[in-house]
């Protein structure tokens, strides 16, 4: 007979594991990927593939040759980073190779330089995205028009169009404003952010699986809605109406998938509400008074930086005082 095992209690474990959480997040991201392929054609698929493959490859290389630790690519976290990074870039042909640079920054600097999954203070995909936005501002803000036909191979980027946010910034959004189109995703934008419907599908799945809680998305979107609503009521000519605000740009994607990243968001419910509030407020501030038409990435990264402080401040309620 084999030797008996001895360990401290407990002797049973729930079937929870990091691997399962990450692959479930990947599953939740697939509706967005499908919508992106439908709207942007083969480019979207190629960008997603390159991004995911590069993230996994870079993580494997860094773990094997630099850190010399057993590989953790099977846990699916590199795939999550790759998908999220792909969802944050426009579906142009240049992006197919540019996203590889983003992946290197996301995995190399955003994640592995801190010691790998769980130790990164910032959301790796957003680190990659912001790096690309600052390094390649033109390419990162050239948006192809969606609905070019299913799996069509775009020959040129001639059909580019701006996002509703960019149009609004230049006072060109007006007659084309249609909430339903935004909800379904018929607008210019990054791969993953266009369809609020697909994002909600994924988010509901994550909520059901208890991988995320409602606190961050609700407080994020709620704050954005209320804040932009107040502004709109004050001056409806200068400020966007609140529904368009939350349905366009990256608020839905950011609130449901980027801000809810376990590693970089606070742990207590109270902390999560504060975190979501900060993200929402910063997003609206950057959108309306900043240089960039979109502020979700910066807002989340700023709040990521505040997460350790929030964690320190928002302690769980003790049972015994």
């Amino acid at each position: 007979m084999k030797l008996l095992n001895v360990s401290g209690s407990p002797h049973v474990h729930s079937d929870e594991s990091t691997k399962r959480i990450m692959w479930r997040v990947n599953l939740a991201l697939t509706p967005m990927l499908l919508v992106a392929i439908a709207f942007f054609g083969l480019n979207a698929l190629l960008i997603a593939c390159v991004s995911v493959l590069c993230c996994v490859l870079f993580q494997w290389l860094i773990e094997k040759f630099l850190m010399k630790v057993p590989s953790t690519i099977c846990d699916g976290s590199a795939v999550v980073t790759g998908l999220l990074l792909a969802f944050n870039v426009p579906a142009t042909r240049e992006m197919i190779w540019l996203v590889a640079i983003g992946a290197l920054v996301a995995i190399g600097i955003g994640k592995m330089s801190f010691g790998g999954l769980g130790k990164n203070p910032f959301n790796p995909a957003l680190v990659g995205r912001v790096f690309m936005l600052i390094s390649f501002p033109v390419q990162m803000t050239t948006w192809p028009r969606p609905l070019q036909g299913l799996l069509s191979i775009p020959t040129t980027d001639a059909t580019t169009g701006a996002t509703p946010l960019a149009l609004f910034k230049e006072n060109q959004l007006g007659a084309t404003n249609d909430i339903m189109h935004y909800f379904l995703g018929q607008m210019g934008g990054s791969l993953g952010e266009v369809s609020a419907l697909a994002i909600l599908l994924g988010a509901i799945y994550l909520l059901c699986r208890k991988i995320i809680t409602w606190h961050i998305p609700v407080s994020f979107i709620g704050t954005a809605l209320i804040f932009s609503g107040i502004l709109w009521l004050c001056d409806s000519t200068h400020f966007m109406d609140p529904l368009t605000t939350i349905l366009t740009g990256g608020i839905m994607l950011g609130a449901c998938f980027m801000a809810t990243d376990m590693v970089t968001s606070p742990m207590t419910r109270k902390g999560q509400l504060i975190f979501g509030f900060g993200c929402g407020a910063l997003t609206i501030i950057i959108r309306n008074w900043g240089n960039y038409p979109e502020g979700v990435s910066f807002a989340i990264l700023l709040m990521n930086a505040a997460t350790p402080l929030i964690n320190r401040w928002c302690k769980p309620k003790r049972f015994a005082k």
Partner: protein, 295 residues
């Protein structure tokens, strides 16, 4: 052009104001300290191992200066060379001390003390010790989870994966005693290095009765007392079924080593005994090597 001059002027003024403020603040909060502390701290190894019993090397330097001499204060990590330098700075004579080395008093290797259970918990000796006997079933033996190796600041201790026991690298060990404190079972002892680095010691801590001790480990001291009877110098005492060799009395004659029925007494760094006079050729070469003799 005037813009540049304005900028330079403003920055210069700001710089000047800060310089003045900083100067006064520095004067106000100046800490008067004996410069000797810095000098001595410079001489000390700087590993902050805690072997001296102080919080770190800086605290030790302060203690030296405060006391003014070296009585009762010893930097085990620095050894004689550091002691001499400190003595020079303090202007006193260093205490003469015998150099020591950490000795692992357990021979419960995987072969001698086969595992009866498999430990599957946190890799920490102190925790495993609070949980149960350990894999071998010996309550006194090494758990092999490496608290001593992690405590060593000098990279002198490694757990050998083959035997499951820690091995001391004598060239690196400075006898700071960090491992002695880290071991929850008191297995590691600081012993005098001995003549030509030769030492004889009981590699066992088991205080159980002979039969019980042997159940867990074939190499356990069974407290039979043969060694104590053999020792011509009275260096060996047997208490609670366990023999102990006093390194201050032991003359390294090695009579006890061959007498021990379980091979619990280890003699290290002796040249291998010449079994038969017929093979003298190998003997002189072997003396150069450090060989551990295991009975």
């Amino acid at each position: 052009m005037s813009g540049i001059w304005t900028a330079v002027l403003i920055l210069s003024i700001i710089g000047a104001i800060f310089a003045v403020v900083l100067y006064f603040v520095a004067q106000k909060f100046k800490v008067v300290e004996d410069p000797l502390i810095d000098e001595i701290a410079e001489v000390l190894p700087g590993a902050n191992c805690g072997g001296c019993g102080k919080a770190g090397c800086r605290a030790m330097a302060e203690a030296f200066v405060k006391q003014g001499n070296m009585d009762g204060l010893k930097c085990p990590a620095g050894g004689e060379t550091v002691a001499k330098k400190v003595a020079e700075l303090l202007g006193c004579t260093p205490e003469e001390t015998e150099p020591q080395v950490a000795v692992v008093r357990c021979n419960g290797t995987c072969a001698n003390a086969p595992a009866k259970t498999h430990y599957d918990g946190m890799q920490d000796c102190a925790f495993a010790n609070s949980l149960y006997t350990g894999e071998s079933g010996c309550v006194f033996g090494c758990l092999g989870l490496g608290n001593c190796a992690r405590a060593c600041q000098f990279d002198a201790l490694k757990v050998d994966p083959e035997t499951g026991l820690p091995v001391v690298d004598e060239s690196k060990c400075v006898a700071c005693g960090a491992c002695v404190k880290a071991c929850p079972r008191g297995i590691i002892e600081l012993r005098n290095k001995g003549m030509k680095d030769r030492r004889v010691f009981v590699a066992c801590r088991n205080k159980e009765k002979g039969g019980d001790a042997r159940k867990a480990c074939f190499a356990a001291c069974i407290g039979c007392g043969k060694c104590a009877k053999t020792c011509p110098f009275g260096a060996i005492t047997v208490e609670n079924n366990l023999a102990y060799i006093d390194f201050n009395i032991c003359k390294l004659c090695r009579k006890c080593v061959s007498e021990c029925p379980t091979g619990a007494i280890h003699a290290v760094n002796f040249p291998p005994k010449v079994e038969k006079p017929a093979a003298p050729a190998t003997a002189p070469e072997a003396t150069a090597e450090k060989v551990e003799v295991k009975a």
